[in-house]
Symmetry: C2
Subunit: 459 residues, 2 copies
């Protein structure tokens, strides 16, 4: 890659108003790289640099800046110039920006935007967040089926500068209804005597404007598409979602899952950790933490009901944490594997019995290993302890080991079952968050522990 021009050099270009050099540099360099470089300057300086370029090029680089940066820059730019910039920006990026602006600023700039683009913006921001409509671009290339192949390529030549992509082209009728799809590759290799109708695909993979964005991203991923057309309920083509959008959606989705799994609530947006305020971080986490504390009342009450058992054999109290830990670990392991498999489409709720059977085998193996280990642990750690008459350390250790083994099997099965149950009732499996799971297996673990002790030790 070209040695990036550094901040001091950029400032020099501004000082000498050297638009030629800057312009050439931008021609040669990926707009993402240019955006990264200029983001380090003051807002005023950024505008001075951008003004050296034609508005379309300004818009391209601008749309690669962080959304917060874009909004900040919008506040100091003249409204007219901002309107011109919006007209040239990719439709999906500009819709995102408009939604991000203060309402007062938005209402001052929008009336200055040319009618067609203004209508486009209003339409895109009207779609519900998280749907295909909210992420799509309206800059797609269309052709008519009667066109000859050469005429079609000529059309695309002219349309190219303003389109998100010309590699995938959509064939529509007079009512703008989507009737076919053809790729630029198809057009290039076709015989010049052929028409679009001859070579177009009618089996089109598409999405609805109201579809969840994750559904769209999964389609793009499954069929290795560069873009996917989005239609309304009358089959009218309204936009496209491209492969890069799909990747962003997948990233967002992963963050959401991970956070849900850890009991952190929040919105779809992938907030930047350092930029999100401590207060917002706090509110995202506190709900779950309090909910779990309340749930923890149950474990507290269960322990209390076995107070006599504990008073008789204090040694049992010493190993409660070990039971809790082990249950939490094994349960989380099976839960995360199942959540992942569900997310990747490898499992469906109806696979419930197969999963339980599999996890039963796995957990029994783990239970045997851990049961033996914990027996040895108890015998070793508590070797100096006074044991009440009628009991022996070995017998107690056996009971604890047995209880642990049962706990392992129980928590593994619960960990595997809960995500499947959640999916069955159309809830997000990842919301069976690790913290909730840990609390549940604590409760069941305590019951297993004390019941086993009562039955086999008579306490």
């Amino acid at each position: 890659m070209i040695n990036p021009i550094l901040i001091p050099e950029l400032k020099e270009l501004i000082h000498t108003q050297d638009s030629e050099t800057f312009s050439k540099f931008c021609q040669q360099t990926h707009p993402q790289t240019v955006a990264e470089l200029i983001a380090g300057l003051d807002s005023e300086e950024i505008w001075e640099l951008l003004r050296m370029l034609e508005v379309p090029q300004q818009a391209e680089i601008f749309s690669f800046l962080e959304l917060d940066k874009q909004a900040e820059l919008a506040t100091i730019h003249s409204h007219r110039e901002m309107a011109r910039l919006l007209e040239e920006m990719p439709p999906d990026d500009r819709a995102d920006l408009v939604q991000h602006l203060d309402e007062s600023l938005r209402e001052e700039i929008l009336p200055l935007v040319a009618k067609a683009e203004r209508e486009d913006i209003r339409k895109l921001v009207s779609y519900e967040e998280g749907t295909a409509g909210a992420v799509m671009s309206t800059d797609y290339a269309v052709l008519r089926q009667e066109m000859g192949v050469l005429q079609a390529i000529e059309q695309l030549r002219m349309q190219a500068p303003g389109k998100e992509t010309i590699y995938y082209v959509y064939v529509v009728d007079e009512a703008r209804k989507l009737i076919g799809f053809v790729s630029l590759k198809d057009l290039i290799v076709a015989k010049s005597s052929e028409t679009v109708l001859d070579i177009m695909h009618t089996d089109i993979i598409q999405g609805k404007v109201s579809d969840d964005q994750e559904v769209i991203a999964k389609l793009i991923e499954k069929y290795d598409l560069i873009a996917i057309p989005i239609v309304d309920d009358k089959q009218i083509l309204v936009g496209i979602v491209t492969h890069d959008d799909a990747m962003d959606i997948i990233r967002q989705e992963q963050t959401e899952d991970m956070e849900k799994f850890m009991g952190i609530t929040g919105s779809h947006e992938v907030g930047d950790y350092l930029k999100v305020s401590s207060w917002d971080h706090f509110t995202k986490r506190i709900y779950w933490v309090v909910a779990l504390a309340v749930l923890g009342l149950f474990s507290g009450m269960i322990i209390h009901s076995f107070e006599s058992t504990l008073t008789s054999l204090l040694i049992l109290a010493l190993y409660m944490p070990m039971l809790a830990d082990t249950g939490g670990n094994t349960g989380s392991q099976s839960a995360s594997v199942v959540v992942r498999a569900l997310a990747l489409g490898q499992l469906r709720p109806r696979d419930f019995l197969r999963v339980i059977y599999k996890e039963l085998k796995i957990s029994m193996g783990i239970a045997v290993v851990l049961g033996i280990l914990s027996y040895l642990k108890v015998v070793f750690i508590s070797r100096g302890m006074e044991i009440p008459v009628g009991y022996s350390l070995s017998r107690i250790a056996l009971v604890i080991g047995l209880a642990l083994g049962i706990q392992v099997v129980s928590s593994t099965l619960i960990g595997a079952a809960l995500p499947l149950a959640a999916a069955r009732i159309k809830q997000d499996p990842a919301v069976v968050a690790s913290p909730a799971l840990t609390t549940i297996v604590d409760i069941t673990g305590l019951l297993i522990y004390f019941t086993t002790a009562r039955l086999l030790l008579g306490v």
Copy 2:
């Protein structure tokens, strides 16, 4: 989408040997869809259907089948026909398949493959798994810089059928050194008098053949690329990685992170949950579980050292689980947020102090809320319990609440610090898995708990 032809209808096509209908269907339908449909048939039937097509089309559909299915089908196909199929398959998919075959089968088929393709296969399977070399395709389009744009487009017309993509084209010199990049869009909109040299970009975003696949995927994601060229250390072009590969890599990466976070070891491959044997699942999980059990020795020994404290005030034993749970939850929350932020590039190890400061504020808020809640919990749950002379339930509850508050702050900070420390020593932050974290904060939590009790209650 066209109504997919169902299994009964497919069997009918085989029975009547109706290659024309099947061929037409495949022309119209995305190969992914065809692959899904035929996957439900017997292996023999699948081959009968595929034989109705030209080998290139067979190969395209075949490469969309699951790898296990491909390998199974390879065992019953004649070696010669399999060799022909391999010659037509996309290079990266065929390399994956060849590695997946039994060694004996591989050594019988490969000698029958045409020399050029055989060399290509040997080269691709030689790269280390998880690197760019192991995922790249060798079917890329190249041009010479002297070519006129019309000649270039004509070249691409001819090269198109055999290439992974012709939308991104790479300009090389006689030594096949990568010197430029031009897109099909650039070529289409250029003036016919221009040459490739005039319009090509020299600032090329590229990857090395030894780069980690995640690095490559992140580049594709960052720059919204359709493909990225891969060069060796002499800058010679050796392959390309496409956007769909990038999406697969990101998915794999996410699964790995999630599993590491839950303490499940394993390979890069995203194994299918139901297909991975119970034994393999077991071995993946058992290491961590045993390691944690061993670590749990420490918590066991710590508890034992405070045996006298527990004997004096049994009530303290009853709330150990609550402390463990809370520590595990808050620690996991901060850890997952930090791991995520690191993965998304929002944080770097040097942000350590900023993160600690932020988490300090957040955790103190949570600590206050939980401290109060736990005070109320203890006073409520243990209201009927006999308290030794010299103490009061209220005072004990206060101490427990205080200890819990300190535990919350401590475990949140540990949860945030560990991933950063891991990243600092170039380890994967996600390997600071939730189970390991829980065990660590258990140990620190127990120390906090008993020390606080000793200091403030004199036990």
